[in-house]
């Protein structure tokens, strides 16, 4: 039986199935020339694997670390844990009305408010799967994940983005931030990227990884319990 170089390469790359591997093993055992060829491929793979291995140990330049921590989408807002001083003006300038939310316009996120989601927002949080967003939906769900207390989901709408967590049979908006409306007013572009303040809050609450499509669908089916 002749064994090709391609097979020997796949062997040393660990890409052969168990039965293919056994075939190579028995052929090699009976053939010193073949054994030599296999060794050659093994040495080559090992040699290649060391290429620029030192780069892995180098400290990563500051500019790359900075690039990895900055989103270009929105400027990183300062974090505020204290209750925002927006209440006085909230009545005048609010956004997010379409989603059934009233959030003061401005860069500071509204945090920890006891807002119960209703209307279009509640419907999206209940029903929409982030893995298959509805086209043209007013509210778009971004990320679904588990916190210590239950499921949470991030969402974006034309003028507001936020984070809501399940409490009993309701979604409570834990955090919301106003976004600039898309200049065209086009709803397809309106539900834009999730602002970093929201993502950061999500990351702080998150236990484990975000749900994948399957887990998300299962959680939805189970009523987010």
């Amino acid at each position: 039986m002749s064994i090709t170089d391609e097979t020997l390469m796949a062997y040393v790359d660990g890409e052969l199935s168990e039965s293919e591997r056994l075939k190579v093993d028995s052929a090699v055992a009976a053939d010193t020339a073949l054994q030599e060829r296999l060794e050659k491929h093994r040495r080559f793979r090992a040699r290649m694997g060391g290429t620029f291995a030192n780069v892995l140990e180098e400290p990563v330049p500051e500019r790359l670390l900075k690039a990895a921590k900055t989103t270009n989408v929105v400027p990183f807002p300062a974090r505020r844990r204290a209750a925002p001083a927006w209440a006085a003006i909230a009545a005048t300038l609010v956004v997010g009305v379409v989603a059934g939310l009233s959030v003061p316009r401005g860069p500071q996120p509204t945090i920890g408010s006891d807002l119960k989601a209703h209307g279009a927002l509640a419907a999206a949080l209940d029903n929409q799967l982030a893995s298959s967003p509805a086209r043209g939906a007013i509210v778009r769900v971004g990320l679904t994940f588990r916190s210590a207390d239950g499921y949470c989901r991030t969402f974006t709408e034309k003028t507001v983005a936020g984070l809501a967590c399940r409490e009993g049979s309701n979604w409570k908006v834990r955090m919301a931030v106003a976004q600039d409306a898309a200049p065209t007013g086009d709803y397809r572009t309106a539900a834009s990227e999730t602002p970093s303040a929201i993502l950061e809050a999500a990351q702080n609450l998150m236990v484990g990884d975000p749900l994948d499509a399957k887990a998300e669908a299962a959680a939805q089916k189970a009523g987010w319990r």
Binding site: F44, R47, L65
Partner: protein, 156 residues
Amino acid sequence: MAFEQEIVALLPRLRRLARVLTRDATAADDLVQIAVERALTRRDQWRPGTRLDSWVMRIMKNAWIDETRSRARWGKVLHEEDAGVNVSDVTSDPAESMAIAQAMAKLPDEQRIAVALVLIDGLSYADAAEVLEIPPGTLNSRLVRGRMALMEMLDQ
């Protein structure tokens, strides 16, 4: 792990892959920076539950192809004898790494990146094919051809 943290954790691998492709420390980090910035701008296109490393590498691969096609930025380093000899290379065997990278530079781009992903970054065939957005059979033939040519050049 948070998105940004995962990207940070990938930086060493991205830098090595970029170094192999560009053979120049500065050009390599420029390429990584472009890839990272694009990844963050498009983070809503990444689907949680899929592999982040493959996704970012695909972005970097596309950036590399864009840039090498125009040859505006990195074209000049491809022929220079002194390209890529860096102080930072002294920790391992810089001559050996550079000899390999120079031999790889003679391969067609698509073979070079296939070899880099599988033999240097250590991806499986399936993952490398996903990064390159090609069928597994295509990956395999590029890998075999590139590898045979390299073994010849490196006299092994």
